[in-house]
């Protein structure tokens, strides 16, 4: 039962490893960037999982709030909103660099780029 309770954290660890493997094992720049994106998403899941409070609702005060209402912790949600923005910027910047690499080298395969650099 305890293992099932940690379901989110297993998914977090799996996604983290999938992402990291994808970044390191792929020579195609776009595929590496996809891996990097998965790697970052794993962390979003970690933060979102930790803000869950048993029976907690969204942290917005309703007009007819009962006195014993429980809210989820809003802070990790706020933090991860920031981290999502950072993730988007990183991916966007990475893709922009990928476009310029394609313009300059005519390929986005890292091994081919390395070959071309060695010949230079």
């Amino acid at each position: 039962m305890q293992l099932l309770g940690l379901y989110n954290y297993f998914v977090f660890a799996t996604l983290l490893m999938v992402g990291l493997y994808c970044v390191l094992a792929r020579t195609n720049i776009i595929k590496s960037l996809i891996g990097l994106s998965i790697f970052q998403s794993a962390v979003f899941l970690l933060y979102i999982s930790m803000d869950k409070v048993d029976g907690g609702t969204a942290p917005i005060i309703p007009s007819d709030a009962p006195p014993d209402i429980i809210y989820a912790n809003p802070l990790p949600q706020v933090l991860i909103l920031t981290a999502i923005v950072v993730g988007i910027s990183t991916t966007a910047l990475g893709l922009a660099v990928a476009v310029r690499i394609r313009e300059a080298y005519g390929t986005i395969e890292e091994d081919k780029i390395q070959e071309m650099d060695r010949e230079q």
């Binding site: 790697f39 970052q40 970690l46 910027s89 660099v97």
Partner: protein, 496 residues
């Protein structure tokens, strides 16, 4: 509330607000002027803050008036002040120096975005140094990293793009590791304020998540600081970035990650995880010793002058990591002083390289034959910087190595080995510095080589020499960095 009380906030606010303005200025030279004005102003602010904290005071500034655990505070002690001076000072010096070199390398059409990125990078690095909030450090880290990627990609060679891409991948992995660690810390304590974290971790009974956090944070920051063998992004990023960008990032950016590592590992984990100093030493000391030898050896066999200096930075980061691993006041003082001094030395050397690159159109060492006669002032600046890397007395490198050796001697039998390592690595530095000197002073230029226009323009030479003379002054009178570093080391270890 006087303006003086608001200085810590202005340290970040001034560059953050100037960045969009610089982006909007489209006239020739104006973006550069705006960037320089903003950065020089932050440098003056950080000097005035340093003058306050050198007496042992700590400035705590509540952002927006929200008190500590609820709002974000800026927490400036001696260590942060010293690093803030290094970051803003090197940024200002590089910009003032770089007007001509940048006009040469960075096109007119991308100048506004380039200088906006430069200001943001300065703001991010300064923010990392002064903030007292673990998550805020991540935000500023990403502001500085994203803008550094842009600066590096502005390099004239197409290989700059590949170097940027590697840097993005490695930098993001490092920052994400840090973020995971902060997540685990928040899970265990429910707070993000560094002071509050240090206090509340004492009550945490289940230490496993905290250990995991320590692992993720330390390795992530080691990746960002380019400690061997996690340095793979660094040599190419330094080599293919525009010369002036290299001056700035070589002097400041890796140092700030090392600062965060010290801050988190000592101020938070050291007191709360049993045997943390041993864990840190077992991780960092082997990496540092490898860095000292591998970095220097790679530098010895390198033919490109910029990459030679980048590999030398790998070795110099090793000295700093070694000081961090010692977990004693002397060792940490050495590490902190070396962060500052190495910034001054490497900044000056990369400035000299930028002067050479302007005239020779190449930074291959073989092409620099006769540079000692053609550009005597530039080469003299380079040689003085090189002596600093070796650690000759009267140069700043000597002061920091002196403290590192003192720290090593406190470690007993293993310390004697560390002293040998430090001395051996300094000897290797003699070899790679001599390699450049030999070509520049004692080789005749090839007969068919194009004649050199002569010395670099004064607008570049004067800032270079100001930095070099600052270095010499720090080698003779090291009161400011050593006092701030000792205070910082004592605070980190909780000795006061």
């Amino acid at each position: 509330m006087t303006l003086y009380d608001q200085l810590p906030a202005l340290l970040i606010a001034v560059p953050l607000f100037t960045a969009p303005i610089a982006y909007l200025l489209r006239a020739h030279g104006l973006p550069w002027a705006a960037a320089t004005a903003a950065v020089v102003m932050t440098f003056i602010i950080s000097c005035s803050i340093a003058a306050t904290v050198i007496g042992g005071e700590t400035i705590v500034y509540e952002m927006g008036g929200w008190p500590a655990p609820y709002g974000i505070v800026l927490h400036i002690d001696a260590l942060s002040a010293l690093l803030a001076m290094l970051v803003t000072g090197s940024s200002a010096a590089a910009l003032i120096f770089g007007a001509k070199s940048l006009a040469d390398e960075v096109g007119e059409e991308i100048a506004p975005s380039f200088f906006a990125a430069w200001i943001l990078c300065t703001a991010g690095l300064t923010g990392m140094v002064v903030t007292g909030d673990a998550f805020n450090i991540f935000v500023f880290m990403e502001i500085s990293s994203l803008s550094t990627y842009i600066l590096v990609s502005a390099g004239p060679d197409r290989r700059a793009l590949v170097a940027t891409y590697r840097y993005i991948v490695m930098g993001t992995i490092g920052a994400t590791f840090y973020l995971i660690g902060v997540g685990f810390l928040y899970m265990s304590t429910g707070t993000l304020n560094t002071m509050d974290l240090a206090a509340r971790l004492g009550d945490v009974t289940e230490l496993r998540p905290v250990l995991v956090a320590a692992g993720f944070i330390t390795v992530g920051l080691a990746l960002k600081a380019a400690i061997f063998p996690l340095h793979s992004w660094m040599p190419n990023a330094y080599t293919f970035a525009p010369n002036v960008v290299t001056v700035f990032i070589a002097a400041a950016s890796a140092k700030v990650s090392l600062y965060v590592m010290m801050r988190i590992d000592y101020a938070i984990f050291y007191k709360n995880i049993p045997n943390h100093e041993l864990q840190l030493a077992l991780l960092l000391a082997p990496m540092a010793i490898l860095a000292l030898f591998a970095g220097s050896m790679l530098a010895i066999y390198e033919r490109n002058l910029k990459r030679l200096l980048a590999y030398s930075s790998v070795a110099q980061v090793g000295y700093i990591a070694l000081g961090i691993a010692m977990s004693s006041v002397a060792g940490l003082t050495g590490a902190i002083v070396h962060m500052f001094n190495h910034g001054v030395i490497k900044g000056g050397m990369f400035m000299a390289v930028a002067c050479l690159a302007l005239r020779y159109r190449s930074v291959n060492i073989a092409n620099l034959a006769g540079a000692g006669r053609a550009m005597p002032w530039t080469m003299a600046a380079f040689v003085i910087g090189g002596l600093g890397l070796i650690g000759v007395p009267l140069t700043p490198g000597f002061i920091s190595k002196w403290y590192l050796v003192l720290g090593a001697l406190e470690q007993g039998g293993f310390g004697a080995f560390l002293v040998m390592v430090i001395l051996a690595s300094s000897l290797l530095a003699v070899i790679y510095v001599w390699k450049v000197i030999e070509v520049a002073y004692f080789k005749e230029p090839r007969a068919n080589a194009a004649p050199i226009e002569g010395e670099a323009p004064l607008v570049m030479l004067i800032p270079t020499w100001i930095v070099v003379l600052t270095g010499i002054w720090l080698g003779i009178n090291s009161y400011v960095p050593v006092t701030l570093a000792t205070l910082g080391a004592e605070t980190l270890l909780g000795a006061r």
